[in-house]
């Protein structure tokens, strides 16, 4: 009877196993609400995007309503996608990842769902205000200033929840994804508050306002969406294929170099603008230094996947996440090169930049979020996705739509830039040259929207639990070569 130390390991195992289901269940309400709202804003943003895109080649389209003019629809599309779809899908995934990685239940079961309601209202008011003509006309932050208070409340609750889970963490190690997530939730509020102060008070005026604007706008990408996206990739690729990250060392190097270099890069948006040359040079140096984190992340993800690429055929999550991770590499390398003065003097103020922005926010971040929702939702609702066919439709329409979008606008933008640098070419000829490529952009938009409708249909059926029921602790887990390793791990 003295050897009572024996039962301890099984008890721990039991607790660990139970906790994983409990963790997922504890996230159910909050994360499902975040995801549902995100899907709604994805559809709303797609409609606004299509209207804006059609207006580029058919200017008379819906031109009689002032609230649907290009100058309002385009920023409304941006706000719906950035603050509605992207941020809400991102926060849902962030909370779920934090809960899983700290092995904690998601705290604040009433306050966190309340943030979903507040967040939705804020985005609705913001998008409505832009359409009604109350845009601040500062890119990426067009929604009215008072919404900052509401976002501030939501972010404060999310930070409090993250800190609470981290303090009570049961895992001995801080996984690389957690570093990225903490980066996102601590930097974004500072960024947002400083930008609000700089842009909506007399603190910054004239050309200086542009510097503050682009420091903010670029950092929303770099220190909010990118860390959430990469945290998701670093968790999901190893989890789906059942293989740890190839080099954990490289993953940490990637995080800290991103943390140090990224937030200097914003002023590369203002090359040629009326700002001191040194200010812009600092931005270019920051952008080029980004090669280090990008290459480490790319090499690491690639080497983790090597020998496992055939899983792409079998896993919807992996398809979307790997597509997103590859596009992260592409968009970052493109971004660093684009920040060079010699390249930028061609690409600046052309459609090339629009293609680049969508490669980042759509091909990287949005695709990773699709992958995350395919992984997380069945675990929250204990239900299988109801149709493999619709998932394939979603993947192929969005993947090819994005490729078409990028190819058309990249080519058109580059040529447009070269023509604009040649004073002998009349401006109208350049505009006429771009029109067919603007049509290809609308066609790509239709493809992507079709994909979003397929996704919304799948998600709707997930909410109605139309798929097969998935009980038990090993949701969607197919073991492979697991028996010997399990014994090894237990011993």
């Amino acid at each position: 009877m003295t050897a009572t130390s024996q039962p301890v390991p099984p008890a721990q195992d039991e607790r660990e196993r139970l906790t994983r289901i409990q963790i997922d269940r504890s996230c159910r309400q909050t994360v499902v609400w975040y995801y549902t709202s995100a899907v709604f804003w994805l559809l709303a943003g797609s409609v606004l995007a299509l209207i804006a895109s059609v207006k580029m080649h058919t200017p008379g389209f819906l031109a009689d309503w002032e609230w649907l003019t290009f100058g309002r629809v385009r920023p409304a599309h941006l706000a719906a996608m950035i603050y509605g779809w992207g941020s809400m899908a991102g926060v849902g995934t962030l909370l779920w990842l934090q809960a899983r990685l700290t092995r904690n239940r998601l705290p604040f079961p009433t306050l966190l769902p309340a943030t979903v309601i507040v967040w939705n209202l804020t985005v609705a008011v913001g998008v409505g205000a832009i359409l009604a003509g109350y845009s601040t006309s500062i890119e990426w932050i067009e929604i009215p200033p008072f919404t900052a208070v509401l976002f501030g409340f939501c972010i404060a609750v999310i930070i409090a929840a993250s800190i609470r889970m981290f303090r009570n963490r049961e895992s001995r190690h801080t996984y690389v994804s957690q570093w990225y997530l903490f980066g996102a939730i601590f930097w974004f509020p500072i960024l947002y508050v400083s930008a609000q102060i700089f842009l909506h008070t007399p603190a910054a005026k004239g050309a200086v306002k542009a510097a503050a604007n682009w420091w903010f706008a670029h950092n929303v990408l770099g220190l909010w969406f990118t860390p959430i996206g990469l945290a998701t990739v670093y968790y999901l690729i190893p989890k789906v294929i059942g293989r740890p990250v190839h080099s954990y060392h490289l993953s940490l190097l990637g995080f800290w170099t991103l943390a140090i270099f990224y937030n200097w890069a914003g002023t590369h948006h203002l090359i040629g603008g009326p700002l001191p040359a040194w200010l812009i040079t600092v931005g270019i140096v920051g952008s080029v230094m980004m090669f280090i984190p990008v290459v480490t992340v790319a090499v690491n993800h690639h080497l983790t996947m090597v020998g496992h690429f055939h899983y792409l055929k079998h896993s919807p999550t992996l398809r979307f996440v790997v597509y997103g991770a590859m596009c992260y590499t592409a968009v970052s390398i493109q971004g660093s090169l684009q920040s060079l003065r010699s390249v930028n003097e061609i690409t600046h103020f052309t459609h090339y930049t629009i293609a680049h922005a969508h490669l980042g926010v759509y091909a990287f971040f949005t695709m990773v979020m699709f992958g995350a929702i395919y992984y997380v939702a069945p675990r929250l609702l204990s239900t299988e996705w109801h149709s493999a066919g619709w998932i394939r439709v979603h993947f192929w329409t969005t993947a090819t739509g994005m490729a078409l979008y990028w190819l058309g606008l990249t080519y058109a933008g580059w040529e447009q830039g070269r023509m604009m640098n040649d004073p002998r070419i009349p401006f109208l000829d350049i505009v006429r040259f771009t029109v067919p490529w603007l049509w290809s952009r609308s066609a790509a938009g239709v493809l992507m929207t079709a994909g979003h409708l397929a996704f919304a249909w799948l998600f709707w059926n997930m909410l109605r639990r139309r798929g097969a029921w998935l009980p038990g602790p090993t949701l969607l887990s197919w073991k492979r070569r697991s028996e010997p390793r399990m014994e090894g791990a237990a011993g």
Partner: protein, 67 residues
Amino acid sequence: MAPFYFVLWGLAAVFGATAIAALVWSIRRGEFDNLREAALSIFDEEEPPGAVTDRFPGSCSGTEPLP
């Protein structure tokens, strides 16, 4: 307006400083002492390394290995 640029860049430096502070904190806490274990920390008994955890719906019975 030159002082304002320094405010902006001071803020950027604060961001960098938070990263370096976090780095120092984690080195002191020994976060980097066992990287292999940290990389394996996302796996557990139910989903050990080798367990494939995502598939298209309805494509296998539940225990069948991948081809």
